[in-house]
């Protein structure tokens, strides 16, 4: 940067040109910006501000916490873990063998409704210990192929489930391959409870991410079957279970929407579930749960956010009290120059 060649006149500050009128003064142009004198707001944390901040936080947080907690308490949730119970006693030593065999996987469970449940009642399956966020897994998909009928062969990312002998797999990749395939049927008092499986996926996915003219091909034809099969006559955009499954979960414990029961359930109702226990979570000790749940504005049953808000709100109220005490016990006039270190021990710094 300092590249003035010596001959390109540096215009030395010479006494030679003292008398000649100065044509181009280099005096910096005055502006409040260059002189760093722009108007500014300089807030200072005065006791008033501090206490009101804490109080404000607690005033906002405590009600939110209470409301959240109430909302969460209002949610009725029935969870039924079935991965062990749905294996016949005799096969429980070799669960993987059982699940891989072609034996009858039928299993019936009974659920008791603890409290009135207003429709819609969401039916979820919950998997534990299933790493849908595993690196090998999340990458193994082709969004191109899912969307575009012409990109059937863009399966580079899908390894090791990209093609079979008869061509590219649609939908390819581990995620699609491992499609969850337990099925549930519900009845109350021997009366079938209809499960609405339409609209369980995101509309944005159906409309833009999964093609309306992309049909499954060569799916689950390989040596190793990972999970469910797909109806080859339905385009991917209508395969809602697949669409839900392919929204990979963030955490190893996750729920996926199975369907909705659009009927109120009363306290004490007994619901018989007839389920097909097809999906192999036994190879990695994964748990399977069936969940029926209502929702609130806050989502499912989860007290955490309510408790967290109450805690923070309570803490801030406490802090407001503490600081009030501090300000009362140790009053200090703000900006009093006698607190400056050189005024507190005059001469001290000179002597050192």
């Amino acid at each position: 940067m300092n590249s003035n060649t010596p001959s390109s006149s540096a215009g030395g500050p010479g006494s030679a040109d003292l008398a000649t009128p100065r044509r181009n003064s280099k005096r910096p142009k005055y502006s409040r910006f260059t002189q760093q004198e722009l108007p500014a707001c300089k807030p200072i944390l005065t006791p008033k501000w501090v206490i009101s901040t804490f109080l404000l936080i607690s005033v906002v947080f405590i009600p939110i916490g209470v409301v959240s907690l109430l909302a969460s308490r209002d949610v009725v949730e029935i969870v039924n873990q079935y991965e062990t119970e749905c294996i016949p006693e005799e096969s429980r030593n070799d669960k993987v063998g059982f699940i891989q065999s072609s034996q009858d996987k039928n299993c019936s469970r009974t659920l008791r409704v603890p409290k009135d449940m207003k429709q819609p009642i969401y039916v979820y399956y919950q998997l534990d210990n299933f790493y849908q966020n595993h690196r090998r897994y999340v990458k193994s998909r082709s969004d191109q192929q899912l969307r575009n009928p012409g990109s059937e062969n863009s399966t580079d990312a899908c390894e090791p489930e990209e093609k079979t002998n008869s061509g590219s797999i649609v939908p390819c990749g581990l995620i699609a391959w491992s499609l969850f395939n337990d099925t549930y049927a519900f009845s109350r008092n021997n009366q079938q409870l209809a499960i609405n499986k339409r609209g369980i996926s995101w509309k944005s996915d159906r409309d833009h991410k999964f093609g309306k003219r992309v049909y499954p091909k060569n799916f689950q034809n390989g040596t190793l079957i990972g999970g469910g099969r797909l109806n080859t006559s339905k385009p991917l955009s209508e395969q809602e279970d697949l669409i839900v499954w392919m929204r990979t979960a963030a955490l190893p414990t996750f729920r996926k929407l199975y369907g909705k029961i659009e009927m109120d359930l009363q306290t004490g109702d007994v619901i018989d579930v007839s389920l097909q226990n097809n999906y192999n979570t036994y190879s990695f000790n994964g748990k399977k749960k069936l969940v029926l749940s209502t929702t609130s504005w806050l989502g499912g049953k989860n007290d955490f956010i309510g408790i967290a808000y109450l805690t923070v709100g309570g803490l801030c109220f406490f802090l407001a009290m503490v600081f009030t005490l501090i300000y009362l016990i140790m009053p200090r006039q703000l900006g009093d120059p006698s607190y400056l270190s050189w005024n507190r021990n005059p001469g001290g710094h000179l002597a050192s």
Binding site: P6, F130, N133, L224, G226, R247, A250, R255, F284, P337
Partner: protein
């Protein structure tokens, strides 16, 4: 530098005056007159024969014959042989550089590789690159290709464009430079050729006011004495004229008529513009050449019709080009400290990676048997007929890969963007320093200059100041104030508008106005009284005894001409101007005579001998053949040196009175100078002449002699508290008189140069250090440049405290370069100090705003920025890290690659830069009012190990809050990875920006825009990323943002994460306030705004800096 041998030679050369003294003087002379002091015995003035013989110019001119024998031979290996007027032969054996210059660094072809090569000299970029390359390996591809290369590519591109533009400008100026024309002797006549075609060995003719195309040895000039005047403004910024001499042996030759041939043997090209060693074989004689015989590229020939020289260094080998390099790069203390913390961060990084890879190894081990069937792992690939492992390289390799991948994912733990932000912030800070009106010097029309861009923040931590006294403190503005002549005091000088002089032809008027003492003026006109005679001689001495060259300058009024006195010493200038005003106007000076207009009557004096001022003798003398055929010696010098040679036998009253006056003047803080005169009889003259001859042959080596002159020209240097004495005015060389300010409990130490040499040579350094660190002020008098550097090193090596050196002369260069921060004053003594400095300014007093205001701000801003950047990146890395623990340690990021990359580029970068440039903890007024506030920087209050660790603890908590609140809130829900990733991204960005907002002290509109704008920009970016249907996270943001829980999480995280910090901050500010906090409160609530802004007493400032 071999300083020991140097001093030894110097001592030898000191014998010369002594020798002369023994042989020639100690004689009292009765016709003493003169100014302040009465008579003197005069000694060691060089003599020449009346008129005929060439003049000896003291140490500079003492030359040829006397020297050649003892002159240090240049070793053949180190020599450069130049055959005069025979460029073919000269260049035959050695390829000397041609005269074309190239300051451009690149050509079109080499630009890309060279520029990249240079850019990758920065470690940060290499780190970037390695990470980007690692990411390209398919096994490690954590980020998308584009996302991983983008930041590096962006930075490289911006820098490359900047470099290309700068280089283009350099090429353009090179081209102009290379195609200038010069007269070169080809085939016995001078022809015009382009500069770039000039070769070493060619003879070149330069006319008045032309720029010299290369370094050349003078052969002859239009002046019969062989003198040429050059102006070296372009080289060292000094605007006065320098005299250079052609050797008598070549002066008489005219190369167009008579073929000159000879051999010059000279030293290899080097950067020293004040040194040159060579000898010339011509006509069978060997002549030695020195710095006064060479004229350098870039200088202009002045007042000389023409000069002929032979090119010895051309093109890139010229001294001008060799000096054309920027300031040496230094690293600020803050950055050094920061690098230590960066090492800690690297350790964290490695630790995180180790944790991840070890856990991954354990996980793999535990699930060893399940890997084949696990739907989300699928170790085997069954798609081919023979089943192979899919993307699995064995346990060990998997762990290794995971390690590398985690380095890629956690890369921003090392805040690379910090280096770029720091550079930007420094540019901003430099902008404000340069534009500060309060650091603009009207007199020299110079702004503050930042020559080194990377040590701005050091200005806020200075603990020791080393200042050159002469010139730097006094500005070297000299003005004639008062005189005591023949024991009479004339000190009632007042401003006068009186025209100086009317002579024949146009009116000549001195360029500078001088105050006039009426009484003295009246006496000077009437020279027949005894008083008048004294005054007459006094003014002749002032006008004659100097090396000033008068120049006539035209004014708009054709009848009036200004006379401008050019000279190297400001004292001399002041004195000559004074003489001119009193009617003794120096009009013409050649090497053989001077013309003085005495009260309107032009008188010619022959200069028979001249001994320039040097700091051993501290005197200058000149022998004049006066119009009345008498021979007089005029001497002027420091009082100590002059009184030692005064003839004490005569008029004791006058002597006493003079001494009293002298004392009175110097206690007023004036520089004083004693002038003396003596008439010589012809026999004395003869005797002196012969003794001069023998003296000059006894000289050991001229190189050493001139070195000693240079070393001793400046005087003292001081550490710590200095009182600015701007009123110091004319008369008297800067002796070792030092200004002490009496104070209650301040201790000062004064050391002189000789003692210092002794101390530095022996083991007493430690004691000196201990002693001086107990003092507020240490004054070192009469020290050589290398000793100045030695003192700086003494302090620097023994403490971690920051040192600052400030000076204005070439003799301060070594000190300026040695200190942590070097400041050059672009004053009267040339630009050497400026060229070596990190910062340059017009006035010494700008040091106050520079350090107290800008230095403080720079330090506060930069320290906060560094800590904040550490925090900002570490928080993000930790959020990523926590998530990795929930992905079976496989480095999946819920946050998209693009957000990871943009996090430090867009989401959070602008506010920290804006705050780093603009935020002010305190106003200028408060900083100047309480200089003690500067101590915050000295005590490293804003950046230290403790703060770093506290910040890291805070970081840990904040990352936990940011990560685990969403995790727990969404645990066991049907949330998908992309949505949660968006939440984490936004939570981190908002938290980090609000954290910054909490620490902002002054809210400007720009600050608001930067902080809130960044948050908005992040939302926009996240939305844009989520509307791209080919990314897995399509529409995720819009889904999650539609839920109340999302917003509750954001609010909860922000508050929950920042409450601890807020509590600690409030508690410390209220219960343990530091000075800055108090001053800030005072600024806001007390409004005790003192009207006298910036005008603070220097004293406070020095106390502060001196105190340890």
């Amino acid at each position: 530098m071999d300083s020991n041998s140097q001093t030894e030679i110097n001592e030898n050369s000191y014998q010369v005056p002594g020798f002369i003294r023994n042989s020639s003087s100690r004689r009292s002379i009765s016709s003493i007159q003169s100014k302040t002091s009465g008579g003197h015995s005069i000694r060691e003035v060089s003599f020449g024969e009346l008129g005929s013989k060439p003049i000896r110019h003291g140490s500079r001119g003492a030359d040829s014959e006397g020297f050649s024998a003892s002159y240090k031979e240049i070793n053949d290996d180190d020599a450069r042989l130049i055959y005069i007027n025979d460029p073919e032969r000269t260049n035959e054996k050695f390829e000397f550089a041609g005269n074309s210059i190239r300051t451009g660094k690149y050509s079109v072809l080499t630009f890309l590789p060279r520029n990249l090569f240079e850019q990758f000299h920065r470690v940060a970029y290499i780190y970037f690159l390695v990470i980007a390359i690692l990411n390209q390996l398919p096994q490690l591809a954590v980020f998308g290709r584009g996302a991983s290369i983008l930041p590096l590519a962006f930075v490289l591109l911006v820098t490359a464009i900047k470099d290309a533009y700068e280089d283009y400008r350099r090429h353009r100026s090179d081209k102009i430079e290379n195609s200038r024309l010069a007269w070169v002797l080809v085939n016995e006549q001078f022809q015009q050729i382009r500069w770039k075609e000039i070769r070493v060995g060619e003879i070149i003719k330069v006319s008045a006011n032309e720029t010299l195309p290369c370094d050349m040895v003078l052969l002859s000039t239009s002046e019969t004495t062989g003198v040429a005047y050059v102006q070296t403004t372009n080289l060292d910024g000094e605007s006065n004229l320098k005299t250079r001499y052609a050797k008598q042996e070549t002066q008489m030759k005219n190369p167009e008529n008579e073929k000159i041939s000879g051999l010059i043997k000279c030293e290899k090209p080097n950067r020293n513009i004040y040194g040159f060693q060579a000898n010339m074989d011509i006509d069978g004689k060997r002549v030695s050449l020195g710095p006064s015989n060479i004229i350098l590229r870039g200088c202009e020939l002045k007042n000389t019709e023409w000069a002929i020289g032979v090119a010895v260094f051309a093109g890139r080998e010229t001294k001008a080009m060799l000096n054309n390099s920027g300031a040496p790069s230094k690293r600020s203390q803050l950055e050094t400290r920061m690098n230590r913390e960066i090492i800690f961060l690297s350790i964290f990084l490695v630790a995180l990676c180790v944790i991840v890879s070890v856990c991954h190894g354990v996980w793999l081990r535990n699930h060893k048997d399940e890997l084949d069937l696990m739907q989300f792992y699928r170790k085997k690939d069954y798609s081919e007929s023979d089943v192979e492992n899919y993307n699995y390289y064995g346990w060990g390799m998997e762990i290794f890969f995971v390690f590398l991948m985690s380095v890629i994912v956690f890369q921003i733990m090392i805040p690379i963007s910090l280096y770029i932000s720091m550079e930007l912030v420094r540019v901003g800070q430099a902008f404000f320093m340069i534009r500060d009106n309060r650091m603009y010097d009207e007199a020299s029309n110079s702004r503050f200059q930042c020559r080194a861009l990377n040590i701005n923040e050091d200005l806020g931590q200075i603990k020791y100041i080393f200042s050159d006294k002469t010139g730097t403190l006094t500005e070297n503005k000299m003005e004639f104030q008062c005189a005591s002549i023949g024991g009479k005091d004339y000190s009632n000088a007042k401003d006068s508008n009186e025209d100086g002089q009317t002579g024949g032809g146009p009116v000549l008027r001195p360029k500078m106005k001088v105050k006039i003492d009426r009484g003295l003026l009246n006496i000077s006109i009437n020279k027949h009284t005894s008083e008048g005679r004294y005054v007459n001689d006094f003014f002749i001495a002032l006008a004659a005894c100097n090396t000033i060259v008068p120049l006539t300058v035209d004014t708009p009024d054709p009848a009036v001409k200004l006379i401008d006195y050019q000279g190297e010493s400001p004292d001399e200038q002041a004195l000559v101007y004074a003489a001119a005003v009193y009617g003794y106007m120096l009009i013409e000076r050649t090497s053989g005579h001077i013309v003085i207009d005495i009260q309107g009557e032009r008188q010619r004096f022959d200069v028979l001998g001249l001994h320039e001022f040097d700091s051993d003798r501290k005197r200058m003398s000149v022998i004049l053949g006066c119009p009345d055929k008498t021979v007089k010696v005029f001497v002027k010098g420091a009082d100590t040196s002059m009184f030692s040679v005064i003839d004490r036998s005569l008029n004791l009253n006058m002597l006493k009175a003079t001494e009293d006056h002298l004392h009175a003047y110097s206690s007023k803080g004036l520089r004083t100078l004693v002038v003396g005169m003596r008439e010589l009889s012809p026999s004395e003259f003869e005797q002196w002449h012969s003794s001069y001859e023998s003296a000059s042959t006894a000289l050991m080596g001229r190189a050493a002699l001139s070195e000693s002159r240079k070393q001793h020209r400046t005087s003292s240097q001081l550490i710590g508290r200095i009182r600015d004495r701007r009123q110091i005015a004319a008369r008297r060389p800067g002796g070792n008189r030092v200004f002490k300010k009496g104070g209650a409990n301040q201790v000062a130490l004064i050391i002189d140069g000789t003692s210092l040499v002794y101390i530095l040579d022996t083991d007493l350094e430690e004691q000196l250090f201990d002693l001086s660190s107990k003092c507020n002020v240490v004054l070192c008098c009469r020290v050589a440049p290398l000793q100045k550097a030695g003192i700086v090193a003494l302090i620097k090596n023994r403490t971690d405290d920051m040192t600052l050196a400030i000076g204005d002369g070439a003799n301060d260069v070594s000190m300026i370069q040695m200190a942590d921060v070097g400041i050059g004053i672009s004053g009267q003594e040339g630009r050497q100090a400026v060229m070596a400095s990190d910062f340059a300014m017009g006035q010494f007093r700008f040091l106050v705003p520079l350090l107290l205001v800008h230095g403080h701000w720079n330090y506060q801003r930069m320290s906060y920025m560094i800590l904040y950047n550490f925090y900002r990146n570490a928080v993000f890395v930790l959020v990523l890290f926590w998530y990795v623990l929930f992905t079976s340690f496989t480095l999946t990021t819920a946050i998209t690659d693009w957000s990871s990359v943009l996090y430090s580029v867009i989401y959070t970068s602008v506010p920290t830069i804006v705050i780093g440039v603009l935020d002010k903890d305190l106003s200028r007024t408060s900083l100047l009012k309480h200089p003690q506030l500067y101590g915050a920087g000295q005590r490293q209050e804003s950046y230290n190990g403790k703060l770093f660790w506290v910040t890291m603890l805070d970081t840990l908590w904040q990352s936990i809050a940011a990560f685990f609140v969403p995790l727990l809130a969404y645990w066991g829900s049907d949330i998908d990875g992309s949505s949660l990733g968006d939440l984490w991204t936004l939570a981190a960005v908002i938290m980090v920006n609000i954290h910054l907002a909490m620490d902002v002290i002054r809210w400007y509109r720009i600050t608001h825009a930067a902080i809130w704008g960044s948050i908005v920009a992040t939302f926009v970016c996240v939305m844009v990323i989520d509307v791209l249907p080919f990314l897995p996270g399509y529409w995720a943001f819009f889904h999650i943002a539609g839920t109340g829980l999302f917003w509750l999480c954001l609010l909860g995280i922000t508050i929950g994460a920042l409450v601890p910090r807020f509590v600690v901050k409030v508690f410390i500010q209220y219960c343990r306030p530091d000075d800055i906090q108090i001053a800030r409160e005072a600024e806001k609530f007390r409004n005790s705004r003192d009207p006298q802004d910036a005008q603070i007493e220097m004293n406070k400032f020095w106390i502060l800096l001196g105190h340890d």
